[in-house]
């Protein structure tokens, strides 16, 4: 039986004569402005504030909350988002300041930016960072453009960018959307980069090789030294997709592994929330030789004063208006201060321990891991025919958040428990997976399961219908 129903749209709640707003009364004279350009009507919801409260409270409750449940969404790093960081970043001093107000009046924010840059340099082994990009993919674009500008200034024409077949979809999309050619490099049977294939493709018209390490199979590619050599030998740049940086903090650094450009997802590794899809932040770091290509401005310290600097010799310009998602930067900065060097390393170690625990425990319970003969890093990947059914059962019948499905391959189930889960919550998830698997294989068990409670507010969505017959806005009510 269904426990909960849907929520009416706010437009259905609307009734002429209702309103939530209040505004001061003003005493200035009104004149006739805009003339014929003035719009005829405007149809926004007319509701009371009490209705708004009810509406959004009810909508909130339709979401499975990562606060309530483990969210093992592989590659997305759904670690716990500390409320302290929300509260620190929500101070008026950070929210109510204008990007163009005088430098002397924004020293607090500039200190956050200055030190976050320093910390990210140390954690990744890069020489300098831009904090401007709003997300990982935005950082990828930034990094690729930095590489492109670098080769241009050297008078080299390099039009191609490579990435492994296991790369995040954003890698190839970033490449082609900027006007570069994308070429895919094969993975070998171990899940690592096929070195022979890389060597064959790494020609002198290749600008960049983009790599996630640990990769999207959750495996650290041990031949990273050889990879860096192959790329650098041909004068190319090695790009680090930092989506999985959370596995290696304090253990090794992309800079030491031979990477030249790095983006970091603050909303993964540094615990800032994903907020239903964002805002995040994707600071992008580079080695010494690329420093002058970063977007402007960057923050520097002049004795005890912070300044924004615009005169970088080869800057690519700007990748967004203003300077970056600063409240997100505040959260990540505070998180680093809270954990410190030892805490960051322990976070990575624990994330790896948890993923390996789940891999082994699930292996023993019959789940197939195509690369399970190796220890994984922070996430592990199951192969399961009928993964959609398993994911749906987990959500609908066990109140579990589904992990990443069909990535990096069809029928994959990629689990990333993160360091902030307890052993008990992982055991509970494992238990649910075993029961759901049993039900899929045994009709009688399924029958039993289907007698029980449904936790999702709706049953399976009719995606075919949704795709074929889009309804992308609510039709206007007839007057």
């Amino acid at each position: 039986m269904m426990e909960r129903g849907g929520v009416k749209t706010i437009f259905e709640e609307s009734k002429g004569g209702r309103a939530a707003y209040t505004l001061p009364r003003t005493a200035i004279g009104q004149r006739d402005l805009l003339g014929n350009y003035r719009r005829k009507g405007l149809n926004l919801p007319q509701v009371s504030e009490r209705q708004i409260a009810a509406h959004y409270q009810n909508l909130a409750e339709l979401n499975f909350s990562p606060y309530a449940e483990m969210d093992p969404l592989g590659s997305c790093t759904m670690k716990y988002n500390p409320p302290l960081m929300e509260s620190l970043a929500s101070q008026e001093g950070f929210l109510d300041i204008h990007p163009y107000q005088d430098e002397s009046s924004i020293q607090g924010t500039l200190e956050v930016m200055y030190y976050l840059d320093q910390y990210l340099r140390e954690i990744t082994g890069m020489a300098a960072f831009t904090l401007q990009p709003s997300a990982g993919a935005h950082g990828e674009s930034t990094g690729i453009m930095i590489g492109g500008a670098y080769f241009r200034s050297k008078g080299q024409r390099r039009t191609k960018i490579l990435a492994p077949d296991s790369a995040h979809g954003t890698n190839p999309a970033s490449v082609t959307n900027l006007g570069f050619e994308y070429e895919q490099v094969n993975s070998n049977e171990k899940g690592w980069v096929d070195l022979a294939d890389l060597k064959a493709r790494m020609t002198e018209d290749v600008a960049i090789f983009m790599l996630t390490n640990p990769n999207t199979y959750g495996l650290f590619d041990p031949h990273i030294g050889d990879i860096a050599e192959i790329i650098h030998e041909k004068g190319g740049l090695l790009y680090y997709d930092g989506a999985n940086l959370n596995a290696i903090m304090g253990k090794c650094r992309p800079g030491d592994l031979g990477f030249d450009i790095v983006h970091v997802n603050l909303h993964k590794t540094f615990a800032t929330p994903h907020a239903m899809g964002g805002p995040g932040a994707g600071p992008t770091g580079v080695v010494e030789a690329l420093k002058n290509y970063l977007p402007v401005p960057i923050v520097v310290r002049d004795r005890d004063r912070y300044r924004l600097i615009y005169d970088l010799a080869h800057t690519i310009g700007k990748v967004k208006a203003f300077y970056g998602n600063t409240p997100v930067l505040v959260k990540a900065f505070a998180y680093i201060l809270m954990l410190g060097p030892k805490g960051l390393r322990t976070a990575s170690e624990t994330a790896v321990l948890h993923a390996n625990y789940m891999q082994e425990a699930l292996k023993k319970r019959g789940f197939k891991f195509p690369y399970g003969d190796q220890h994984c890093m922070h996430e592990c990947v199951i192969k399961y025919e009928g993964i959609d059914t398993l994911g749906q059962l987990l959500a609908e019948r066990f109140k579990k958040l589904q992990a990443t499905i069909h990535f990096p391959e069809a029928n994959s189930y990629m689990i990333e428990p993160t360091e902030t889960e307890t052993k008990e919550s992982m055991d509970d998830y494992i238990e649910a997976m075993v029961e759901a698997d049993t039900a899929i294989k045994d009709p009688r068990a399924m029958e039993e399961l289907e007698k029980g409670r449904i936790y999702t507010p709706i049953r399976k969505v009719n995606t075919r219908k949704g795709m074929a017959r889009p309804c992308l806005i609510e039709p206007e009510e007839k007057a």
Binding site: L44, Y56, K79, N177, A321, Q402
Partner: protein, 462 residues
């Protein structure tokens, strides 16, 4: 304090049990794939920003330190500064709901069954935006106005099969910088049309737009706060079968003008004014609206209403074939993380004001009040209108008898954030100031600013 690490619950006993299950005696074996010589053989060194303060910090220490940083920013001032980032009042209910864990912690709603709240929020947001612009489809947010404008330009190129973007120099300078940055690779031409008296030079625009033009981008109100003749832009654009991208930077103006009425094909820009804090320039709310016939080229998440298998109303992401996680190198954009929480803020903000409230806010507290300020301050010797006779919304450009930065430092002593030094971006307009008036700068604030400016005229700046 004992030696536990914040936010980690794994005890020594848990760790031993897990290692036993994994079957490794030593924890470090899990990291065996990282070659020894590439490992970091030392602790990370994170220097403390404050002498005597030692990492890691406790919650109390952090609150004190970060609290001090917040206090070192001058905030809670009276803002006469806009220029692409607007100080509007944010109703309390907005921050309350954007602060709910069910909204701020979840991921992108890939699995619809467990994310119906998020999906319905986005669907309602899309509807409200389309009702404001008069178009038919909206994405569920992009990073900011500048990146949305770039995405819109690329979208227009895909739709027309052309590669030239014509853009007015009266478009926000940082937006044009971002466009320059992103279109540097591949086969693109950017044509900038100059300004005449604070507005896009229409004669030049008519000459420059041709059958090579994919899109024409004009901002209204433009960077100087002035209304552009958008109908004329649409006419010129359509005569050449190009697409007209109506750029919105101050979204509140949509309460009074509907871009679809003026011939917009695509409306793109920034909706920070709807419930997002200025927060030093981000996170804000990029958006693109278009007609239904163009939706397959629209970048970003889009939510559709549909049904579950038993016929209940349900919501899901639509058109994943446009997106990077499905189509990879053939995607319409690389966007993944967007600014969904800001879209929630905008929805609550727009519901709170409603049709009448938003129009009252835009009309009386921005448009009318800005005219009052324009006249009041424009009467003061030395502060003449830079572009007299042009229609404005809530920003206007004046001459300034001093270096603008010097004046602003003086105003800051009175907790007033003065206008933008226009010469910063337009060297030909040195010593001109772009002032902004919103509902947060009422008549008393305007009169107060005018008094100070008059006083400074008598006494001098120093």
């Amino acid at each position: 304090m004992k030696d536990h690490i914040p936010y980690i619950a794994t005890t020594e006993a848990d760790r031993s049990e897990m290692l036993a299950e994994i079957g490794v005696p030593e924890f470090d074996e899990l990291f065996e794939s990282i070659p020894n010589h590439l490992r970091l053989a030392r602790d990370l060194v994170l220097s403390s920003p404050v002498e005597g303060m030692k990492l890691p910090l406790s919650e109390m220490e952090l609150r004190k330190y970060i609290g001090n940083l917040s206090a070192r920013n001058s905030h809670s001032c009276t803002y006469f500064l806009g220029a692409g980032c607007y100080h509007h009042y944010i109703p309390s209910i907005v921050d309350l709901f954007t602060g709910l864990p069910q909204f701020y912690t979840p991921y992108t709603p890939y699995k619809p069954e467990t994310n119906q709240g998020t999906l319905q929020v986005m669907y309602e947001y899309q509807t409200m935006m389309c009702r404001l612009t008069g178009l038919e489809v909206s994405n569920a947010s992009l990073y900011d106005g500048a990146t949305a404008m770039v995405e819109a330009a690329k979208m227009a190129a895909r739709l027309t099969g052309r590669t030239e973007i014509v853009i007015s120099r009266a478009v926000h300078p940082e937006y044009r910088q971002v466009l320059d940055t992103f279109l540097r690779y591949g086969d693109w031409q950017i044509v900038e049309v100059d300004i005449q008296g604070g507005k896009t030079d229409m004669e030049e625009l008519a000459q420059r737009v041709s059958d090579r033009t994919a899109a024409v981008i004009v901002q209204c109100p433009n960077f100087f706060g002035i209304m552009e003749d958008m109908e004329r832009v649409a006419h010129i654009t359509h005569k050449n079968e190009a697409l007209f991208i109506y750029l919105v930077v101050e979204a509140l103006f949509l309460a009074l003008i509907q871009p679809a009425d003026l011939g917009a094909d695509i409306v793109a820009g920034e909706a920070q004014s709807f419930g997002a804090h200025m927060s030093f320039g981000g996170p804000h709310l990029g958006f693109i609206n278009c007609y239904g016939k163009h939706k397959s080229k629209l970048p970003g998440r889009i939510v559709t209403k549909t049904e579950d298998v038993e016929g209940r109303p349900a919501y899901m992401l639509w058109g994943a074939a446009r997106e990077q996680h499905i189509s990879r190198s053939r995607a319409t954009s690389n966007i993944c993380t967007n600014h969904a929480l800001n879209a929630l803020a905008a929805s609550i903000y727009l519901s709170w004001y409603g049709s009448e409230g938003l129009q009252e806010l835009a009309d009386i507290h921005n448009l009318q009040m800005a005219h009052y300020a324009y006249e009041r301050i424009g009467r003061i010797p030395g502060y003449e209108p830079a572009f007299p006779g042009e229609e404005i919304f809530n920003e206007f450009t004046l001459t300034c008898p001093y270096e603008v930065a010097a004046l602003n430092r003086k105003l800051l002593e009175h907790s007033i954030i003065g206008g933008l030094e226009v010469g910063r971006f337009y060297p030909e307009h040195e010593n001109k100031v772009l002032l902004c008036v919103t509902e947060t700068t009422g008549k008393d604030d305007i009169d107060g600013l005018a008094d100070i400016l008059e006083y400074l005229n008598e006494k001098g700046l120093t």
